[in-house]
Symmetry: D2
């Protein structure tokens, strides 16, 4: 249950306040160009301490690749990657030994595991997502070889009351990363930034949503009936700590569900950034851009404002590379499944 | 990929226009009281042709249990169940051999499988959900023995523009089934029914949403990190054909996401029907009622109105037992995982 | 655990004295030519009551295919097959309700499952292998399309003290089936037959071994490190009830293990029916004929000689198609894995 | 396929000439006493360079535990362990880039993976078994808590023509380790040692067999029908590189298979070190000591005698802890399955 995927398998490990975190990627074929720098670059996009809108924790998060690579290419064997914890400051959490944090899963975790790691969040920490980003980086390296037109791009689409418009097709990660908030719309980004900086000062927090769009999708990814593309995307994104909902299809789904089917289906805009089905029909990709939205609840807030600076007032900007990674892992896995099903006439 | 679950495994089979559909349930322990009548009763709740709000197809859908039972109790061996197709009328679909239905997955399916069953929807048909109901009936029989306080109850919460209020705690399936629309609020139910009957006449259709609530939840169901309760629920419900989104937590999540964390988390109403977290914290159940919502797009509509009567103008009423079944299967699987993890101090 | 395989998955069900047995095959690609007659022909080779060397039970074992087929080809969806039990005569077993059969697993089964199906062997019955033969027939149909040169042929190589010589290359099933004992060497077959007929009369039984050879093997089947071809063959054959050992490589392995490596490895006879490695190196097939041997203990004998006729005095002849089926299932599964690993330079 | 087990899962990684090898153990419950020293002690038993009968390579093989532990107990989260490679001397292997080693899997591996790691054996190296020993050490720590009477003890039972007698019950690892050859019978051990030292000098090698016996077995371990205890043991031991057969039950199985069933089954010696069934009936453990034998082919020999010292002339002594580890992993996994199957009357 710490493994994601069936054929492209990512097993994650590590506690936020233990020696290290990491991942083992099994099932990545041989001959895929992959370097430590690629994986590091993916981690750098998730790293905290980069701007006024994130936590002040500074974690260099340097990755080491222990296996599965030779001369810049994968060997077809498991790829193990490790990131040492450095800025642990677990003394910050010392008092937590006997006190459960409201809004956290501390009590639930202890009821289940009969103990709780007093050093901090353990596996429920957002820091666990670091392993997902490693898995996503390898998945993307593989997809880049097999499906070079495929582009997975996420952005922040809502922070609290600010809802950004759907960006035009062709949006790139570089464009998204120009904004601290990773909102692709400049005006909305300004407003979101102001909200987050204000919340950080007050010890408050914001939820919202992000979108991930995949352009250059092949037709037919997905496995009937329980491995539908939408089912696996829901699981993948729903497994991220703060996610509280996953929807796909049009950006304004809630509004469209109030319309009758003749209107809903007539809208299908072939060739536009995303069709009304979000690129999925019958559980399989239909070749249109894939569009999925993940809703995030606001982080639990701390009454102890002195610590507020060590938590993200809004995790959405840093969640974008995590969500992209999960989507890439799903696509890599399902792509391998299409190879494993040599259907013929 | 036609198997759901890891420890409580449900494998489904069957085409909508082939000889039969069914399921094999593997992993249900020995000694669980279970009769054919229980499974049949579950199927009867999903059966079409029951009222003005569903398709006119009449399918008796009689289940036969082929294995795994002896004298009214499970043997601990696989339980195989079969339902013969009767009212196939596949001639209705004859012309489809060379023509893809707009709004259906016909073309996508053929691109992937290099062919399409010209008899009809095959595995993408809503009729496939019959197998899920069988799996859910066995899951519920098992849960009834292990967690007798647990109650899984779903209802239709939205049809097009009609949004029903959250029902009070203690709602039963019997109460829900009193309404043809399976909306638990009488006034909303009337309005929904009028909408659906009208759509049926016009060859139109409606989407909306349903909720599933689980009362009597144990603490700690869910597996870190990819097997979180919410991740598996998302996959389970997201794997149902028409579902286009899964959210959990408060009924009015979209509105609440516009509030800051201090407001969002302060709302946590311990002891009420469902807390702000929808009964899930850290990916594990927290003992509060579980509350999850699945969004459904409207069924694809047919330009040929003569056939309209053979399709559901709104599948939500009949989707309620399917969603309950998927939730029950997730809970049975995760419950077995808690046994398989003998954590101790 | 009633499912075999990862990509080519065979789920089996059914008790020997319940309504039916069967299998669901999931993962067989679309477009594979397959008919009910093919599956029936495979079952007929396993059927009891065919000669003086098997049990007198007459079971027609007619298979019905419920799904996954259309016009003589697979649909790429799960293939469900059912065989009704007919000659159950469970009254024969009536007295067993309170009495455990010596040499059987009755007591162990009851300790684990807290009960034992008093109607008979349930899932430990040899009748369970019927489901494996169904799975093997589908696997062979798939392999015939993908690897037409591949031939899986088994034969009885030992009954009690009679050890038959290794048959020449090119042996066919039709040749093997000419002998009631399925021993490919006529002289050994005569001796084995005499032994078995004598044991049947006395209520005694014989063990021994069978071999399975696969000619036309592709290079590279097998997955490092736990999915090695030899590991999966061991599991597949070791899961057959009476099997008490699995060895691969040369027929006279025990003798050869007494030789030093310089002699052992020098023997490698490239191009002969089977090399010293049994067609496996590094866990992967090396393109040479695969050769594997399964050792069978003698069936438990009954003190009640009146019933002796209802049990096989030597199950080896009927075990040949079961072992072939298991090998075919392993090869189909591993072949799909090679497709799912697009290794490139 | 680099993961072993379903509930107690061990994922291994690492190339023999890369930066490190290791394992991630997922599914070990919380609260199990476990220290780095325990894991190190297990690795030390497998370490090369310890005596005249093994390779001269000196590898300290120091393990580091990166996650899953806190204050000497498991957290219930994945346990990641890493061993750095030190004495790589990959220059020894430099010439192999263009030349396949006879008797090795070099060519087969390249046919499959489209390349071969020119630094050495990669995942086919015996060094890969180090990860298994780590997994086994954790499995044994868990079993020690749950089933304290259970003892897994292996020994070398045959080297070339020398076959040792079955040791008496109660044999301990400490006793076995007193012999460099890990043969529990002193006279046989002397003869084996002489053979191996002689082969080492000549660049020759020996195969043979080892046994693993488990005393203190609970009743009912094993899952019908494909997860039988004997099936999983066969796979587990059959996945070790040089193993060429797995048999269970009596030490002199080949001889006993020449006897009729009335003799074979009458031998069942209740209460002796191992019964005729090797502790397995109906695929489940019957509470008697488990006895399984793994046959090993001799290591491939090198024509270049200068390198002979860097390879084991007989891997059996070092294979004992590896086989014990695989058995422990199977038992831990199946034990968790018994918990996950709450059968009741």
């Amino acid at each position: 249950m710490n493994t994601f995927g069936e054929l492209f398998r990512v097993t994650t490990f590590g506690e936020s306040h233990g020696p290290a975190l990491g991942a083992v990627i099994d099932g990545c074929p041989a001959g895929v160009p992959l370097t430590r720098e690629q994986v590091q670059a993916a981690l750098d996009r998730r790293r905290p301490g980069q701007s006024a809108v994130t936590t002040a924790r500074a974690e260099p998060d340097q990755v080491e690749l222990l296996s599965g690579l030779y001369q810049g290419k994968t060997l077809g064997t498991p790829i193990a990657a490790v990131v040492r914890n450095q800025d642990q400051r677990s003394q910050d959490y010392a008092r937590l030994t006997t006190e459960d944090r409201p809004g956290h899963a501390d009590k639930v975790w202890r009821d289940r595991f009969r103990h709780r790691d007093p050093r901090g969040g353990g596996r429920t920490s957002g820091r666990e997502t670091l392993s997902r980003v490693i898995g996503g980086a390898v998945a993307e390296a593989f997809l880049a070889r097999e499906l070079p037109a495929l582009k997975v791009v996420g952005w922040v689409s809502q922070v609290g009351p600010i809802v950004a418009p759907l960006p035009p097709p062709g949006l790139t990660r570089a464009q998204v990363d120009l904004e601290k908030t990773r909102c692709a719309d400049a005006a909305s980004a300004r407003a979101m930034e102001a909200l987050i900086v204000d919340a950080k000062a007050k010890g408050d927090s914001w939820g919202g949503s992000l979108h991930v769009r995949v352009e250059g999708m092949p037709v037919g990814l997905g496995e009937p009936v329980f491995g539908k593309l939408k089912a696996l995307l829901s699981m993948a994104l729903g497994s991220i700590g703060a996610v509280t909902g996953v929807v796909w299809g049009p950006a304004d789904l809630e509004a469209q569900l109030k319309e009758p089917g003749t209107v809903f289906h007539a809208r299908t805009p072939q060739g536009t950034p995303s069709d009304v089905y979000g690129g999925i029909q019958g559980g399989l990709s239909n070749g249109e851009p894939l569009l999925v939205r993940a809703l995030f609840k606001p982080p639990a807030t701390l009454t102890d404002h002195a610590k507020a600076g060590r938590h993200d007032p809004c995790i959405l900007p840093r969640a974008v590379p995590v969500a992209e990674a999960m989507v890439a892992m799903v696509l890599a896995d399902l792509y391998l499944f299409t190879l494993a099903r040599p259907h013929r006439e």
